[in-house]
């Protein structure tokens, strides 16, 4: 059973539906024991980092997710859920993340160059770093296939864990992973067939 962490952030309708489509058995839960029992965890999230980090901590689930991930249970953070995996974020202040991935989350506006709109919204092509083996998450995805992004902040200073990038003036972190801790900045549940293939790969880990 896959557990989607429910901590009052974001719209889980599409995520639930897309997992159902690929035949994955998933539950949406805010219960610590259910997360401990699950064989893998998805941490979703939209909105502001500070708010979400606070809600995740206050719900008591931050420590559960962190502990399960450290013990090797596959964890996939999506969008803001991915950003929360990093050490800290500079979204309106400075906020601590879960620290499962090294790096920090920063605004993209200063780095993407003039004339590009923020948020980075729409379909963008994935590239995979050449200096490391391709992530199992993307086993069924070719470089150049597009996924759907909506974000104004991105993980930076995290070269060691970057598993996919998207070109938007600079090479933005599209996905990151450290062993079984994985994050996707884009929305696989909104990325058509490519997104379903990525979710399927996560469920097969």
């Amino acid at each position: 059973m896959l557990a989607i962490v429910d901590y009052g952030v974001g719209n889980l309708f599409s995520l639930k539906s897309s997992l159902a489509r690929i035949g994955a058995s998933a539950c949406v839960t805010g219960d610590a024991d259910a997360l401990r029992r699950a064989d893998r965890i998805i941490l979703p999230g939209v909105g502001a980092f500070g708010d979400a980090a606070k809600k995740l901590r206050e719900s008591g689930l931050a420590s559960v997710v962190t502990k399960e991930a450290r013990q090797g249970k596959p964890l996939l953070g999506i969008c803001l859920g991915m950003q929360l995996l990093f050490e800290k974020s500079y979204e309106y202040g400075e906020h601590a993340g879960l620290g499962l991935l090294p790096g920090s989350v920063r605004p993209i506006a200063p780095v993407i160059g003039p004339g590009r709109k923020v948020p980075h919204i729409g379909w963008n092509a994935l590239s995979f770093p050449e200096n490391k083996p391709k992530s199992p998450l993307f086993a069924q995805v070719d470089a150049g296939e597009c996924v759907y992004f909506v974000h104004s902040f991105a993980a930076m200073e995290c070269d060691a864990v970057v598993s996919a990038t998207a070109e938007y003036g600079v090479s933005l972190t599209a996905a990151a992973e450290l062993e079984t801790v994985m994050g996707a900045q884009f929305h696989p549940e909104k990325s058509g067939d490519v997104g379903l293939r990525i979710l399927h790969a996560f469920c097969a880990l």
Partner: protein
């Protein structure tokens, strides 16, 4: 490279897709769920649903159909029509919409944009504007294009963005349904005025019109159309191939099923 988006728009009344030509004379086309799946398989980058139902029963039906669509297709869905309050945002977002488009509701109560953006983020709030030339200037129209608000287009889109609209859909009443091409002049004026994504609507009759749109106005992010897609005058895979060949960045899909 971010790709330009091709967006079919589905006007839904009492659970069925209809399309007005110059907002008059509705003609039934097909089932929203079937059309949505078809378009997703064809490579549509996003879908827009406008609920043009007036009755409470129709609105309930729309919400049910939206949930069915959102369980079937996994591309971004924007919903508009009858959005007058933050609770209308709640209602459609719970059923799987990703973005909500406001038009007359925001004209009546501009703070709706701010309140919704605070709750759901700017990226969730799309300001849809129907505009028309009146005495040499671009004027905003309300109620599906029937009522001149007296408001200037540029003034309104700037205000909308400052309140938190994350995207603008500009529908030119002058070119809508005429199939002679998008309203490049009006679009250019809006692109110059705001820095959020602009979606062009109204006037597309052929693939050439989309090529002209993105080549003339590289700042436009997406092209939206309805009847030309619904009636098959323009097929999305052919359109995207033609655009890619013309050098416009496009998302091409591998397992195209139409």
């Amino acid at each position: 490279m971010i790709t330009k988006r091709i967006i079919p728009c589905l006007d839904v009344k009492d659970g069925r897709v209809v399309k007005g030509v110059n907002f008059l004379g509705l003609a039934d086309v097909s089932s929203p769920v079937k059309l949505a799946s078809y378009y997703s398989a064809c490579g549509a980058d996003e879908l827009v649903f406008y609920d043009i139902t007036a009755s409470a029963e129709g609105r309930q039906l729309f919400t049910e159909i939206l949930a069915e669509v959102a369980s079937t297709v996994f591309i971004p869905l924007t919903v508009g029509g009858g959005i007058n309050s933050v609770s209308d945002f709640d209602r459609v977002l719970e059923c799987g919409a990703d973005k909500v488009s406001v038009n007359s509701g925001a004209l009546r109560n501009p703070s709706l944009i701010r309140d919704a953006a605070r709750k759901y983020g700017d990226q969730c709030v799309v300001l849809s504007v129907d505009a028309k030339r009146v005495g040499g200037s671009f004027r905003v129209f309300a109620k599906g294009g029937r009522e001149d608000t007296g408001l200037g287009l540029i003034e309104w889109v700037k205000r909308g963005v400052s309140l938190g609209a994350g995207e603008i859909v500009l529908n030119s009443i002058d070119t809508d349904g005429v199939k002679q091409g998008f309203d490049l002049e009006m679009l250019c004026a809006v692109c110059e005025a705001v820095s959020v994504p602009v979606i062009a609507s109204g006037g597309a009759g052929s693939a050439a019109h989309f090529i002209e749109l993105f080549q003339t106005l590289p700042k436009v992010d997406a092209g939206l159309a309805a009847s030309i897609f619904h009636f098959g005058d323009v097929k999305i895979p052919d359109l995207k191939r033609a655009l890619a060949e013309a050098g416009v960045p496009m998302r091409m899909i591998k397992e195209q099923a139409c």
